[in-house]
Symmetry: C2
Subunit: 334 residues, 2 copies
DNA sequence: GCGGATGTTTTTAACGTTCAAAACGTCCGT
DNA sequence: ACGGACGTTTTGAACGTTAAAAACATCCGC
């Protein structure tokens, strides 16, 4: 494997000149630059990243902790990772994966990776209510950016990018309203997660804005499963109240709703409009297709990387992005 | 951030002694070792990985190319990544993610990562028929290991780990047979993918072994979607032949089968036993739960890392692992 | 008390790059 | 012809670690 030294010898210049040819080509005289470049090409030279990192103390790697999977099913994680990777690469960086225990127990792992100079900073996701990581990293002066706000916290401890769940629900409500739905229910989650409340709030506000009823139209599911989504839908329908639209907190719950509706002889899309959240691969693959709120992964990733690698100015950057309503058969005009 | 030099000064030994305390503690006298360790602890010293890598020319990073998602939905990718990461960490290594164009166009990316010393080697997955990557990497003498065999190739160009799809199908068939099923259909894929043929073959052989019929019991779906699974199931049932068991090539197709059966007033598990493949998060979350063949991700990851990081002896290592049948309601005894 | 074996520690020299400063050339105004 | 300004190239040192060899210490047998 060729080194700067060998290229320098071949091009009959000093080592530093070759380095400059790569990092500051404007400093070289045109003919020298060309000669050096020819040698670089000829010897198939590729800079050794470790040597570079040692000297500059920047590794161009970004740490990302792979969520341990049993808690929630991350149906869109692969999309996120792909987008994140691609965004990082556009700036010459890469993603380093690692695992860590949840909560504060995981902090030594983050610290270690940073202290050993294996990463420049972190992208956090799967943010939880009162997530301790953000505050801890801030305190240690370790660069990071969060995909997702830390809920139930007055001020955010660092820069973040998030998707506006409230706006998403509102979009779903307005969409259903436009296709003639007047009694739109919300299928939510058990524990009052910040994310859940955000989306719930958007539904409530949009309904009020449009003069639609909300009382008795909220159901909470015990867990994020198709079965629970179906049961909750059944409970809702069993109250005897009319429902012609359902905004579900997740695609999985929405699938449950679709199933229960079908079971009762109702046609999703025709009799009841249903929407989900996250536009997981499932939404496209079921029939009727599930209308869902797609997170703009590419933009999210781009912002995350830009913020993390950008100049660390004083005030933390905050970006709230709008999801995109992907309309499919489950919400066809009734 | 403390360096070896500072620790050495603090412990009043030479730099090399501190290095030895970490890498070859047996060389130190007990009391020296303890003194050095105290200094290390006190100064919270963490070795700089870049310096180490520069000297030893081993980065302890393994490259993994994130599949671009639109081709197939990777419902178990997060499980795989988590397992791979965990296995790598058990050997002090980490996973570096990157993106690359498919096929031979991606090779420069692999080459570059290796040439710049950003990774020691690669784990390949999403192996395709006649995948060019393996042969190319072998030719360049770049270490790699493949999750998945290269199909339609007489000899494998390198070490691999794979799950025995044929054995999996056979397990499913035997399981259905044990619960009284006698006419077991196979729901397959469109294009004759190696993986598809492998699983199909296992079904056929097992049926023959058990004296079960196979003629007219194979259906091929055009794509991997719930809708197509349902349509194919409908086609199969419409032929008039009795079917009391369905072995599907994927969970998604199996879900389609479940839906079509339900639509026709048949009870999956009771009237027809259904099994899927890969035990994706969906299998657990639908109702009835879908019996599926779980890939032993932890073991797969462990083997991949062991092979990749192990001594490169002459003959390539090959490991064919058995999937595990996870039994749920969809195949309850009829 | 000496040669040798063994155990422990230090010295020297890299690994491949970039930073900072110095050196060298060339051109210009005076 | 001289000093300065600028553009280009080289020199020297450093980043933090480990490999290899050298140095030093200790113990043993004779």
């Amino acid at each position: 494997m060729a080194t700067l030294k060998q290229v320098a010898a071949h091009a009959e210049v000093s080592v530093q000149t070759v380095s400059n040819a790569l990092n500051a080509p404007h400093r070289l005289r045109a003919d020298t630059l060309e000669r050096v470049n020819r040698s670089i090409e000829l010897l198939n030279y590729r800079p050794n990243r470790n040597a570079r990192s040692l000297r500059t103390s920047a590794v161009e790697l970004i740490g990302y902790c792979v969520p341990s999977w049993p808690n929630h099913t991350h149906l869109v994680m692969d999309q996120f990772l792909h987008a994140l990777c691609a965004a990082a690469e556009r700036t010459g960086r890469h993603i380093l994966l690692f695992t860590a225990p949840g909560g504060v127990d995981g902090m030594p792992t983050y610290d270690d990776l940073h202290a050993r100079r294996m990463v420049d900073g972190f992208v956090l996701s799967q943010t939880e209510t009162h997530d301790p990581r953000h505050g801890w990293l801030k305190e240690q002066d370790i660069p990071f950016v969060s995909f997702g706000r830390v809920w139930k916290q007055t001020t955010q401890p660092g820069p973040w990018v998030d998707v506006d769940g409230a706006a998403g629900s509102a979009m779903a409500v307005r969409h259903l309203h436009e296709s003639g739905r007047r009694r739109i229910a919300f299928l939510g989650w058990p524990k009052l997660s910040g994310l859940g409340e955000d989306r719930l709030g958007g539904w409530r506000d949009a309904c009020k804005d449009l003069g639609l009823p909300t009382t008795g139209l909220t159901v909470r599911c015990r867990e994020d499963s198709i079965e629970e989504g179906a049961r909750a839908t059944a409970r809702m329908l069993d109250t005897g109240r009319t429902v012609d639209g359902i905004v579900a907190l997740s695609d999985i719950l929405a699938l449950g709703a679709l199933r229960e509706l079908t079971r009762r002889g109702l046609t999703p899309g025709h009799d009841v409009g249903v929407t989900g959240f996250d536009d997981s691969p499932l939404a496209e693959v079921v029939s009727p297709g599930l209308t869902s709120l797609r997170q703009p992964m590419d933009q999210i990733a781009e912002e995350l990387i830009t913020i993390l690698t950008g100049t660390v100015n004083g005030s933390p950057v905050e970006r709230l992005l709008r999801p995109e309503l992907v309309i499919r058969g489950s919400s066809a005009p009734g």
